[in-house]
Symmetry: C2
Subunit: 414 residues, 2 copies
């Protein structure tokens, strides 16, 4: 593979991948590692024409940019290759004529997180581990359980007893061992870390694992390829623990190193008003302070984000921006995407769209700019929020005359 | 376009497409029409190499086989191009070494029905209609609402007041006008037919519209292409009103006419024991009798199927078979697909898998045969059934020693 080494984001010291560290041992707990590639070799042995001829539409088409040996064992779900839609009518409504939507909710388990979990499972296979684990009730867990099942690995998922039954059902169908911890999510997380240490399971507790960002970056590689390597001016994405926007940055960064693109798009990171610790640190320039988790966008309700360093660097070094949106804006964006595009996103999945709308209103994003919004998760994961976003159906007795009245009142007929 | 005419399935009389009939006016209500193509022209102007070079992975790559003029307006959701997975471990468990799963639950609104609704919306656009309508709470409705929204059409969906709120939420997010009819599904259907006649909306009430089958057939075109035109011995699919299996048949039939394949796969149609009117007619050779709708597989709970003629022909003329499965078999198939493949299907979506398992046990499908099962809908559409399919999570206090005990008891650790 083309990985040269891991480097510490804080102290810059290089680490060899086989040292087994997930964080820098010289920096204390905060020193996140980052995967570095031999870009000269990639540029010499791989090119855009070879890529264009590859019929594989999944994320694995970018294998030379991934931290896995060529042809190594991996899950075989069809992750990536998600559609990039022109959004002309939607763009007209929000005053942006050059708008595209990338729907990553169409990944196999319904979210962008599949890209990261596939790498986690591939790394577990590579290192001979037979069990992967994490604490989550959300997209990280379902994608990990699904990819583990596909690859024949066991998965152990720690959830709080408060987790909704519907989300747990998907995990159980995937054959995961689901441990319901009596207490809060913090209790579940702590117990998962202890068990991972005790039993030597592969750790997919997101942000500190440097390989997960490498999976997420494939969304940026796809965006660049779908734009014919002429990247948009802005890429917009919701931000929770910071890993996704860090992955988007890393993808474009890699492409810039090998000369396949000539600039980085500006990244617009969007958080929910009720849980915006990274956005607040970006605006104030101060440290990241823990926040309440007061938003219906549960997939980005991360009060103690674990990847703020990479996220803040992603925004700052692309001359990007961060913005917050109210839950009402998120529900509005859900309706907007549904009504104009036929795209159904979960609340966190459409928060980027809500943020873009606000950014256009504020003049931060200009009318002439080319913009892509990533929808990160499928609305079918949270139909309760969708019900909150919409007015109830029109109730009527089975009588054509009564129907005529209600249709006229609703302006469906004239 | 390459459509030559419509023909009546019962009396064989040809009809010109522009006559506007959805059923044969000479046969009474039962005479379904079928789209016939000028296969000589298709064979002369289109070939498999040209297809292979087309980078469009959606169903529209098969445009010369579709009843739409080239380049005509249509919805632009990324429908089709769904993955075909080898299923080695799953095959091993059920005694079938040559098994593949096609996951059509990864279509944009979560089901195979997107293929039909896209054609419905394209036909509505072609004929200048601005509103499409149907009576459904299921996949037909959500796919119609999503595709209509994408194309800028209005949709009116009639549901019963008994329909679950979660399924309605998706429709409302897509901006559909949802009419909740006080009464049963039969009342909702009757009111929809009356309104469609009164207001001139485009009718997507499935089975009598001959164009919908043409959309569904693209799943068979894809299967053939994904198998390199060497089709499997069996294709397995669940059966409700009969349109999907009719579409699968039509796709392979078309390919046989142009010489791209040299035989039809045998079709195995699977119904739920509690609602198996087409299967019963197949077995007895008698007419199709209405049935109760006693199954959790709601998407195939069709007691009065509207397309039995095409469905029965599909099975008989491929030397196929029909089989029923209990709800317990369906839940078992859901777990099996989840645990071995990381695929999450809704109950009706996995009924085909349950039927195949039974067919192997009965010796109907033989060990050496190559088999593809189509998963027709996404499990996220019905997490309540998934919860019924699985045991509850393992509950534990946040204590490593207690965790150790429960993990050992569950054989997760030794």
């Amino acid at each position: 593979m083309n990985v040269s080494h891991l480097s510490c984001l804080r102290c810059g010291r290089p680490r060899q991948p086989d040292e087994g560290h997930l964080t820098c041992p010289d920096c204390g707990a905060g020193g996140l590692l980052e995967v570095q590639y031999d870009y000269t070799t990639i540029a010499r042995t791989f090119d855009r024409d070879a890529l264009a001829r590859n019929p594989d539409r999944t994320m694995w088409r970018y294998e030379p940019f991934l931290p896995v040996p060529p042809g190594s064992p991996r899950p075989h779900l069809a992750i990536g290759g998600t559609p990039m839609y022109r959004a002309d009518r939607l763009g007209l409504e929000i005053g942006l004529p050059h708008l595209w939507i990338k729907d990553d909710g169409l990944n196999p388990t319904g979210s962008l997180k599949d890209r990261a979990s596939a790498i986690a499972v591939a790394k577990a296979l590579e290192t001979g581990q037979d069990t992967v684990a994490c604490a989550s009730t959300g997209n990280a867990a379902s994608s990990l359980a699904g990819n583990a099942a596909n690859a024949g690995l066991k998965s152990v998922i720690f959830v709080s007893t408060r987790a909704p039954a519907g989300k747990i059902a998907q995990l159980l169908v995937f054959g995961a061992t689901v441990i319901s911890v009596e207490g809060t999510y913090v209790d579940a997380f702590a117990l998962s870390e202890r068990a991972i240490a005790d039993y030597g399971w592969y750790n997919r507790n997101a942000a500190i694992n440097p390989y997960l960002v490498e999976g997420k970056k494939t969304v940026a590689l796809e965006i660049a390829e779908q734009f014919g390597w002429n990247v948009p001016d802005w890429v917009v994405v919701s931000v929770g623990d910071g890993c996704t926007i860090a992955g988007v940055y890393k993808g474009f960064y890699d492409l810039l190193q090998v000369g396949w693109i000539d600039r980085l798009p500006r990244l617009l990171g969007v958080q929910a008003e009720g849980c915006a610790p990274i956005c607040r640190a970006f605006v104030t320039g101060g440290p990241v302070e823990p926040s309440a988790e007061d938003t219906l966008a549960d997939s980005i309700a991360v009060g103690y984000p674990r990847n703020p360093d990479k996220a803040l660097r992603a925004v700052k070094s692309t001359n990007g921006a961060m913005i917050t949106v109210a839950d009402a804006d998120i529900l509005d964006a859900m309706r907007l995407l549904g009504r104009t595009m036929g795209i159904f996103g979960e609340p966190a999945g459409v928060a980027g769209m809500a943020g873009l709308r606000r950014a256009v209103t504020q003049g931060l994003v200009q009318k002439g700019e080319r913009v892509t919004v990533v929808v990160t998760g499928n609305g079918l994961k949270d139909t309760a929020s969708a019900a909150r976003a919409t007015a109830p159906p029109i109730r009527v007795s089975p009588d054509p005359e009564r129907l005529h009245e209600v249709l006229a009142a609703a302006n469906v007929i004239r």
